[in-house]
Amino acid sequence: MKYIAPSSVEEATSLLSTSPSAQVFAGATDVVPQLRAGRSAPELLVDLKKIEELVAIAKDDDKWTVGAAAPTANLTEDEAFSGEFPGLSEAAGLIGSDQIQNRSSLGGNLCNGSPAADSVPAMVVNGARAVIAGPNGTRVLDVAEVVTGPGQTSLEADEFIVEFELDRMPARSGDAYLRMIPRTEMDIAVVGAGARVTLAEDGSIEEAVVALGAVAPTVVRVPDAEAALVGGTADDETLSAVAEAASGVCNPIDDKRGTVAYRKQVAGVLAKRAVLIAIERAEQRNGSK
């Protein structure tokens, strides 16, 4: 196994094009356990952290750009980002311990392909886009389209994500992410729920996005919940509809972390709670970006 740390995107893509058995990594927090368990045995380890764009966090008037390999600690400690996307910041902050936080990244969390990745539902509700580099330049893909199944992505073997783009959070909007784990830390989500809402001037819900993690092979949107919310307020009846829709859209498995019945039930509970937090945040963001 050979280690290499390219200093530019071009260098990295050309390495990947010429090495059939290469593994890109940022924090290696998923890669190392997989190597140890014998689930993969690449010949080349390509460390993406020495490429400037991959670890940068920046914003302009239109969007935030978050390097795919930027440690999630940098994201959660960025007050401007965390103020604007508290749900995504909190979701990123749930990926492991403080030790892990200094290594884990949005790119790694996404490309590991786990249905339970905490940051993914939070990125999906915020409409995040992945900027993907390959031998023929870059392309942009909705984050929701990147993962195609457990451990599988739509990326080619010689592609990797450079950065994520997030449109600036509009006024009267807020996001939230909640997960259920048996402990308080150091667990994989049994159920995760992200929500984002934008309120109209009159306080009614103008837009809503709800997405769930760990309840299907990939992160799933909950269109019926979104429809139930839009145009109204989060009264008990609507919240029940949100919960029911969330439970209904689940296609989970029974495994060591939870059962089908549990995941369905709790998906509804968390979706409802996440929507309420998102609304509260939207109410507080009554104006400027």
């Binding site: 740390a5 403080d98 892990i100 290594r103």
Partner: protein, 158 residues
């Protein structure tokens, strides 16, 4: 297999060592540099016993490939005391009986230092979450949390 020559500042000293590329920083520190203070409890980043600071950021050295630290500055538990004078955390762990078997202690000390570097006056809850990546099976964490609280007070000069 050819090994890579790595130069890093370890506990204040410019240090050179050889390691295979796939070797963890933890094994390189233990086997090549001879610093066995960081321990392997799991090898998968779940227990924190191998915690070290790399460029002032705490991380689990079992998840770091040795060549990644080329040119970096590393602090292990062996470098915590200053010319033989214990760090306040070390002193408070001793005085507060915050260790039983002691296998997790190096990792806790490093993680607690990382916390206090960022947040000199943490609440009990902040301490508990900051140390959640460090498993201790002996103490039930009570005396560890108290020792960190006490060290924080001392370091603030209170």
């Amino acid at each position: 297999m050819a090994r890579t020559h790595i130069t890093a500042v370890v506990n204040g000293d410019e240090t050179e060592f050889l390691a295979e590329d796939g070797t963890s920083l933890l094994n390189a520190l233990r086997d090549e540099v001879g610093l066995t203070g960081a321990k392997e409890g799991c090898g998968t980043g779940d227990c924190g016993a191998c915690s070290v600071m790399i460029d002032e950021k705490v991380t689990t050295s079992c998840l770091v490939f040795a060549p990644e630290v080329q040119g970096a500055t590393i602090l292990t538990v062996e470098g915590l005391a200053d010319s033989g004078e214990l760090h306040p955390l070390q002193q408070c762990f001793l005085e507060g009986a915050a260790l039983q078997c002691g296998i997790c202690t190096p990792g806790f000390l490093i993680a607690a230092k990382a916390l206090l570097d960022k947040n000199p006056d943490p609440t009990e809850t902040e301490i508990r979450y900051a140390l959640a990546g460090n498993l201790c099976r002996c103490t039930g964490y009570d005396k560890i949390v108290r020792a960190v609280q006490e060290a924080a007070r001392e370091m603030r000069g209170q």
